[in-house]
């Protein structure tokens, strides 16, 4: 019972902090922070499954997040018919060539014994395949990218509702994790970290530079939304009535009719943005709660016990007849799929896909700090970590600015040190996160809410 008290206390403090932001800054900012906290929480659930349940170190979170984002574009954007007409055939042919290469390589590997000849033939098949791919793809890609390059210049998506993309993002990230896991999971822990970090970098550079796929660094804007648009809300009667009803006491204080109308307009504009964000919050909260229930059930199931046994002592678990390679691969896929889902949620929330913004600092290391700070192996801890670290990440700059002003208030406005410090306020977030991580690693290595050892 004592454990639950800690959890409840920690979450209440977090909610209180977000409410404070709402009171002091604005409700719109508070909700933005809350939404991002929820998205971060989904990412940390994914990372925590891999690290906390199974002890797999995956520094490739950025890659899966980007894939989730790509899924939103591929699913929800309307297909560009003209681009399909001019270059679709080439791209489809390329997919078939890739499938053919994989099958031929597999065939050679299965059919012949290990020898130099086999290695050379595999290498030559792959090299020949790549040359064939380039020859087939180049005219198609050029044709696609020249279709109205300012607006489209890519194949577009399937034109489905955007919520499907969340599932598709998870599938995409999961299937990529299958391939990467097959390749890299045999490596030792720190090699695995480096390999996944670099593979994620490769994925992002492909998304950035293959413009026929999702416009690359030219970005895709105006993606579909699962929530109403602000403009529609501001013109619909029921919403205006609702806002007027909620704020009736304030409005009644204003005497003149024109002032009243103006105040109401302002309120409607503010309320519409809050309403849209609330819709997102509801969706994200549903996802987080579903994931939390499922992962919690899994953690305390025989399967969860098996994973912890593998994590704590691989050799003993393997002696008990557990298939470690298979279980590692499975958990690698599951965790990555959840991260992919979070990536799709994030792009849906933003309404735009900007491949240039995927950087390892923000999308890999900060997520790892969240998991470590919150509590590895404990889902409540991981989610709390997502909330705490994201809150610090966003609010560190305003707090730093406040503190700098406080401590340098005796200095004149033009003092060089003061000006320099005020200019560098945004970078204090790195300092706060770094020192926070170091302190937690040193004095509470199990995280804010540690893993519970349950004897069954």
């Amino acid at each position: 019972m004592k454990n639950y008290k800690n959890v409840i206390a920690a979450y209440s403090i977090m909610i209180f902090l977000i409410i404070l932001v709402g009171v002091f800054q604005s409700w719109s900012i508070a909700l933005t922070i809350l939404n991002y906290c929820l998205i971060s929480a989904v990412m940390t659930i994914g990372a925590n499954i891999q690290w906390g349940y199974a002890g797999l170190i995956n520094f490739g979170i950025m890659g899966y997040t980007a894939l989730g984002g790509l899924a939103v574009v591929l699913v929800s954007v309307e297909p560009v018919k003209k681009a399909w007409q001019v270059g679709g055939l080439n791209i489809l042919a390329c997919i078939w060539i890739i499938v053919a290469i994989i099958f031929v390589v597999k065939f050679i590997l299965n059919r012949f014994n290990k020898s130099k000849l086999r290695n050379y033939s595999v290498a030559s098949v792959i090299l020949g395949g790549i040359i064939l791919l380039r020859v087939t793809a180049t005219p198609g890609i050029e044709a696609i990218e020249s279709v109205d390059p300012a607006k489209t210049g890519f194949l577009g998506g399937m034109g489905l509702p955007v919520l499907f993309s969340w599932i598709f993002g998870a599938l995409l990230a999961g299937s990529l994790a299958f391939v990467i896991g097959k390749i890299a999971l045999g490596l030792r822990a720190d090699y695995l970290a480096i390999a996944t970090l670099l593979i994620a970098e490769i994925i992002v550079s492909i998304i950035k530079h293959e413009e026929w796929l999702a416009r690359g660094v030219k970005n895709v804007i105006g993606l579909k939304r699962p929530a109403p648009y602000e403009i529609d809300l501001q013109t619909s009667d029921w919403f205006i009535d609702l806002v007027a009803k909620i704020n009736s006491s304030k409005l009644n204080l204003i005497k003149s009719i024109s002032d009243k109308q103006e105040a109401l307009n302002q309120m409607v504009i503010d309320a519409s943005s809050v309403y849209v964000k609330l819709c997102f919050t509801g969706l994200f909260l549903t996802v987080v709660i579903i994931l939390l229930i499922v992962t919690q059930k899994a953690l305390y199931s025989p399967w969860g016990r098996k994973m912890r046994a593998i994590r704590d002592n691989e050799e003993a678990a393997s002696a008990m007849g557990k298939n470690i390679v298979k279980e590692h691969l499975l958990i690698f896929i599951l965790g990555s799929a959840i991260v992919g889902l979070a990536g799709a949620m994030m792009v849906t929330n933003d309404g735009l896909f900007t491949p240039g913004s995927y950087r390892p600092m923000r999308y890999t290391f900060v997520i790892w700090v969240m998991v470590i700070v919150g509590g590895t192996g404990n889902n409540f801890g991981a989610i709390l970590g997502g909330f705490v670290v994201w809150f610090l990440w966003v609010e560190a700059a305003p707090i730093a600015l406040f503190l700098i002003n406080l401590f340098t208030s005796h200095l004149p406005e033009t003092n060089a040190v003061r000006v320099h410090l005020i200019e560098s306020a945004p970078y204090f977030r790195f300092l706060v996160i770094g020192i926070g991580l170091l302190l937690i690693m040193r004095y509470r290595p199990q995280g804010i809410i540690p893993e519970k050892i349950i004897k069954q």
Binding site: I57, I183, A184, L187, R188, A189, D190, Y191, A193, I194, A195, L197, L198, I199, E201, I202, S205, I206, K208, H209, M361, F365, W368, V369, I372, L421, E423, S424, Y427, F428, R429, F430, L431, I433, G434, I435, L437, L438, M441, R442, P445
Partner: protein, 336 residues
């Protein structure tokens, strides 16, 4: 004559830049590998530590320039390197004392060390941005070129020319000097031997009376020298930008692993392997081929294997292939 021209084209656009870039990577890779061999963890703060050392060199260069000091044709930054190294070593020792030593005494697993180094990375990045800011800075002064393409053409009468930037020459020369001194130190001196013994088998080394504190101290000193020189050379050649240094960590890791992590000589060669691969795969061979083939066979396309956007991806793919086929690296590092 055409054959000579083709060679010159290749030298000018691939070999010389690759040698310079490879030297910068090699210094960083030896830094990674030394930390890995002696202190036994993958240091994710590598790029930012290099950036931290370079930052001091940049600040001191501006200071010296304002005082009117300089080396004439050579860049002033060379004069500031010793001071920057001192500051860098001081910073590394402080970090080691307050952060890493605790986990070393506790004998924590390497993964925990790696996570701690991520914390150090965040702090270092913050300090750099707070002290010098994130913007792009050039601190190269003195003579920019040793000879330009035009002068080379006039000298030799060939159709193609070689441009040799002074930073490229300085990079290659300084790297060779530093690396040879370091190998001499590691292989020929008593302290170097004790370091290698400590890295091979810690318990045996302790038994034969090697002081672990001294070994760790010397490792950080060498690391500080390598990190600062590597960082300053890169900054002189391109420009100093904190963000780029963080990104450079990735090819440096690739170089260290390709060469066999824990093996300094492998890391040295690994740097060049990565640099040459990156540049050779993304170079457009059209001009080179057009000198070799008769005129009617001249190719239409650029003859580029991959576009330069994929420069980093090439080195990472090499790393993945090496990890799959031979995880101990091309030159057999240790597998701890």
């Amino acid at each position: 004559m055409d054959f000579l021209n083709a060679i010159i084209v290749l030298l000018n656009f691939t070999v010389i830049p690759a040698l310079a870039y490879g030297s910068q990577l090699a210094l960083g890779a030896i830094f990674v590998t030394l930390i890995y061999a002696v202190l036994r963890f993958a240091n994710f703060a590598t790029g930012d530590m290099m950036s931290f050392g370079t930052m001091f060199a940049v600040i001191l260069t501006y200071y010296f320039q304002s005082l009117g000091f300089g080396l004439g044709v050579l860049p002033t930054a060379l004069l500031t390197i010793p001071f920057a190294i001192l500051m860098m070593i001081l910073y590394m020792l402080i970090i080691d004392k307050f952060v890493f030593s605790y986990y070393r005494i506790k004998k924590s697993p390497p993964v925990q060390f790696a996570m701690v180094s991520v914390g150090v990375m965040f702090v270092t990045q913050a300090l750099i941005r707070i002290i010098i800011g994130p913007s792009d800075r050039r601190f190269l002064d003195g003579e920019k070129f040793i000879f330009k393409a035009k002068e080379f053409k006039e000298m030799t009468g060939l159709a193609e020319g070689i441009t040799l930037k002074s930073t490229q020459a300085i990079t290659i020369v300084v790297t060779l000097i530093v690396v040879s001194i370091m190998f001499w130190f590691l292989n020929r001196t008593k302290t170097g031997t004790s370091m290698r013994a400590y890295s091979d088998n810690e318990d045996l080394a302790l038994l034969s009376g090697i002081d672990p504190k001294r070994v760790v101290l010397i490792t950080w000193v060498i690391a500080g020298i390598l990190a600062t020189i590597g960082g300053v050379l890169y900054g002189l050649d391109k420009s100093y930008r904190p963000f780029v240094y963080f990104n450079n960590m990735l090819p440096i890791f690739a170089a260290a692993i390709v060469g066999g992590i824990g093996n300094p000589f492998g890391a040295f060669l690994g740097g060049y392997v990565i640099a040459f691969a990156e540049i050779f795969v993304t170079y457009a061979y059209k001009r080179f081929i057009s000198y070799l083939l008769p005129e009617h066979l001249e190719p239409d396309s650029l003859l580029q294997l991959l576009s330069t956007d994929y420069k980093f991806a090439v080195s990472f793919s090499i790393l993945v292939i090496v990890l799959l086929i031979r995880p101990s690296g091309i030159f057999k590092g240790k597998v701890i």
